[in-house]
């Protein structure tokens, strides 16, 4: 148990927990509204969309890739389910969510196919796909909002279990759970870590790397689709322009949660903490009445500080490493 505690302190996640705790203590003193169940549920609900998408982005970063197209994917999924609900007013939430996830997965498969078949780097591929999909969304909607969604959808979105836990938090937990199961207990999940560790070695031990990559991007797209469903269920209408820049928040969340953009590392636990940290931070900035524009500056600083602390720690560890067993 002592060992466990010691190892835990050494883990990356410990730093994030520490920041969350310190931040929460400060916020509790600053505002009596912070540490209340309603407030916590509220800010988790409004951040669930980034969270869901972050779980999708996690495998991408572990594989040493990146997916910039998630902001376009969520927009497309949102528009499709918006129109779907207007066309089929007698449908139900489960079908709508499935449609959203399928639309996202299709975009992801396209990403994966381009990356694997034409060997184009993920950053370029997903940048291109993002632009195309964004264009398609505007062509399809003319930039106009979609509103007047069915009543069953609105009540689904505002439902709270025991009057406390919102629907969107369940979606977030579902996304985290599925990602955890895949990464920890499936062949493809371990393959994702292998690809991120060394792609050439992954080929040599017999992993089907192309299939793994396609899966990763399909999964990321699918989670962006689920994110669309979560978002539309919160706001009750579709604004195709609102998702610009989402990809950066999502990637930041995952990086904040300890995943390395160099690939190979990252856990669902860490990403969960990243999501919580982002949510606490945003809420705290609002409660502390920091002006809107300054909030962005602070968020950026936090990301840079969090990542540098990690890098500096690792460097320090390396410097301490005894390289030669010196005879004293």
């Amino acid at each position: 148990m002592k060992n466990f505690a010691k190892n835990f302190v050494k883990r990356k996640e410990f730093g994030i927990i520490l920041i969350v705790v310190i931040l929460s203590v400060i916020l509790t003193f600053l505002s009596s509204a912070f540490l209340t169940v309603t407030n916590i549920m509220d800010f988790m609900k409004s951040n669930s969309v980034y969270g869901i998408m972050a779980f999708g982005m996690l495998p991408v970063l572990i594989s040493a890739g990146i997916d910039l197209s998630v902001s376009a994917t969520i927009a497309l999924s949102a528009v499709v389910i918006g129109k779907f609900m207007l066309a089929f007013p007698n449908s139900n939430p489960v079908i709508v969510i499935l449609v959203a996830m399928i639309v996202g997965a299709v975009v992801g498969v396209v990403n994966g196919l381009i990356i694997t078949k034409f060997n184009i780097p993920p950053i370029v591929t997903t940048l291109g796909v993002m632009t195309i999909v964004n264009g398609a969304v505007l062509l399809g909607t003319g930039g106009a909002w979609i509103s007047g969604l069915p009543q069953w959808w609105v009540s689904f979105g505002s439902f709270k279990l025991f009057g406390i836990i919102p629907t969107q938090l369940f979606m977030l937990i579902f996304a985290g759970l599925v990602t955890w199961l895949i990464l920890k207990f499936t062949l493809v999940g371990r393959g994702i870590y292998a690809v991120g560790g060394s792609q050439s070695s992954a080929v040599r031990v017999g992993y089907n790397v192309n299939r793994i990559l396609i899966f990763i991007y399909a999964f990321c797209g699918m989670m962006a689709g689920l994110g669309a469903a979560a978002h539309i269920s919160i706001v009750g209408q579709v604004d195709p322009n609102t998702y610009t820049g989402y990809e950066l928040d999502v990637i930041s969340t995952v990086v904040l949660g300890g995943a390395s953009v160099m690939g190979g590392t990252g856990t669902v636990f860490g990403t969960t903490l990243g999501v919580i940290l982002m949510a606490v931070l945003k809420n705290g900035l609002i409660l502390a009445r920091i002006p809107n524009y300054w909030q962005k500056v602070v968020m950026g600083l936090v990301i840079i500080i969090a990542v540098s602390v990690d890098v500096i720690n690792r460097k320090r560890e390396q410097a301490k490493l005894v390289r030669v067993d010196v005879e004293e």
């Binding site: 062949l187 560790g197 060394s198 070695s201 017999g206 030669v324 010196v326 005879e327």
Partner: protein, 496 residues
């Protein structure tokens, strides 16, 4: 004689423009160590790629495994038929645990989408036991020493139920002690009736472990011989097609003034109390076991790994070097051990690699690079070092190991350093190129450069140096003039 595990014949492999393998054959019996030898470019790696299922041979090749003619369709297929490769770089996943690295193939092979961690761990423990390695299966691989990583790689081949394991240059990163451990592991595997194809450049090891040799030269089969029927010289001349003599260059006179003096240099956990003087025109060889602190010490002088205590004098003046650029300003150049990752920009041309550290020199009046003078001096270096092909526009990655090493040498020589430190200059370089690199080093010394050569290969140290320092556990344990020395005398200082 036991039944052969593998027999191949008529194996050719043509790439656009080159015939990498031309009608070669090879066979191996269970429990045998059969070494494949040849210079770089002889076709050894191509054959490994074919046997591992990574590449397909040209039509007409015959591959027989356990008496049945077969084909090796892909990596998984080769593994399934009992052939596993331990690559030079081990092909491990540094970010994953030992257990997962060992168990992974089995998981992939069974293609069960859901994992059972308990099974994986048990498999790993068993394989590690067969290899005889004491390693915690839960450890993350990148935290292990190179030697232990290799054991993990071998254990993972064992876990695949390999009947034949190909060891590709298995000792290039190992110290002498670790090589001994590897010999034990190979013995264990032989007892389990596993056939081992051993690929190496190092004569000593080849003769120590092998039962038979098969020699390739320029993609062609030369001969297969019993190890006890040939001498080292025979083997070398079969590999090279000519006799190569190992020349001793030691020159104990004509030393210039002191170029570099080191006093009490120490760094915690790296090295302690290092003292020596290096003269202009002199070559000092520094040897010792890997992990004795040799590279750490050299990197301290070069500013990569600054020391905690001690003094360094260059041309009699005390200097405080905290970074490589300061070292270069003082005329010290360091050529690192792994040329592919630390020494060369592989996708760039010979020209841009050589002139990288000295681009400033070629600036014209308005600060742009003058291509003409740049090319002229590159031509000079390529010529002097006999880089083949001698086309400065070739990409570094298209060159053989020996020629890459020459480009790295040229790159640092072009800085006109007065003090040159070369770390394992001929690691992975074939016999012919080795002799040429030794010549280059001596030529520089004869022009007044002070040179430190760090090497684990005693024949190399004995050939190239005037004076030899032996390091052990971070200290200098012995110093010799290179006169009437034997390998044994040096080793007695290197080991406790």
């Amino acid at each position: 004689m036991k039944e052969k595990f593998l027999e191949i014949s008529n194996v050719s492999k043509t790439f656009p423009g080159v015939k990498a393998l031309d009608n070669v054959k090879f066979d191996i019996v269970p429990g045998e160590v059969h070494a494949l030898v040849g210079e770089n470019g002889a076709g050894k790696s191509t054959l490994i790629k074919i046997l591992s299922g990574f590449q397909q041979p040209d039509l007409g090749a015959k591959i027989v495994i356990e008496g049945k003619e077969t084909k090796l369709n892909g990596v998984m297929d080769a593994i399934r038929q009992g052939i596993s490769v331990v690559y030079q770089d081990f092909s491990l996943f540094g970010n994953l645990t030992v257990a997962e690295n060992i168990g992974i193939n089995e998981i992939i092979e069974k293609n069960r989408p859901v994992l059972k961690w308990k099974e994986i761990n048990e498999k790993a423990v068993k394989a590690l036991a067969i290899v005889g390695a004491e390693i915690d299966p839960k450890e993350i691989v990148e935290n292990l020493s190179v030697a232990k990583q290799q054991m993990v790689a071998i254990a993972s081949a064992v876990a695949q139920d390999a009947k034949m394991i190909i060891l590709d240059e298995p000792t290039s990163a190992l110290s002498r002690n670790e090589v001994e451990t590897l010999y034990d592991i190979i013995d264990n595997l032989k007892k389990k009736n596993i056939a081992i194809m051993f690929v190496s450049h190092k004569m000593e090891e080849l003769f120590h472990v092998s039962d038979r040799f098969t020699i390739f030269r320029d993609g062609q089969y030369v001969d297969t011989v019993n190890a006890k029927d040939v001498t080292e010289d025979d083997l070398v001349s079969m590999m090279v097609g000519r006799k190569v003599e190992i020349k001793s260059y030691a020159n104990l006179e004509n030393k210039g003034p002191v170029a570099l003096k080191v006093e009490g240099l120490s760094k915690k956990g790296n090295f302690k109390d290092i003292n020596f003087e290096l003269h202009e025109g002199e070559v000092i060889g520094i040897t010792g076991l890997v992990g004795a602190g040799r590279s750490e010490m050299a990197q301290a002088i070069f500013g990569i790994n600054p020391p905690d205590a001690g003094k360094v004098y260059v041309q009699g003046k005390e200097v405080h070097i905290k970074s490589p650029s300061q070292a270069l300003q003082h005329g010290i150049a360091y050529i690192p051990e792994s040329r592919q990752t630390q020494g060369l920009v592989l996708p760039k041309t010979i020209e841009s690699n050589i002139t990288l550290p000295v681009l400033k020199k070629y600036r014209n009046k308005i600060g742009l690079i003058d291509r003409k003078t740049q090319r002229a001096s590159v031509d000079k270096w390529v010529d002097m070092l006999d880089v083949r092909p001698n086309d400065p526009d070739m990409l570094a990655m298209q060159l053989s190991g020996g020629n890459q090493q020459k480009v790295v040498l040229a790159k640092w020589i072009s800085t006109e350093a007065k003090i040159l430190i070369v770390d394992e200059p001929t690691n992975g370089v074939d016999v012919g190129a080795k002799a040429e690199i030794h010549q280059i080093i001596r030529k520089l010394a004869s022009e007044g450069t002070a040179v430190i050569v760090i090497s684990s290969e005693l024949p190399e140290i004995l050939s190239v140096s005037d004076r030899i320092l032996v390091m052990r556990k971070g200290r200098i344990a012995g110093e010799f003039l290179n006169k009437d020395l034997t390998q044994e005398m040096i080793m007695s200082k290197a080991v406790v």
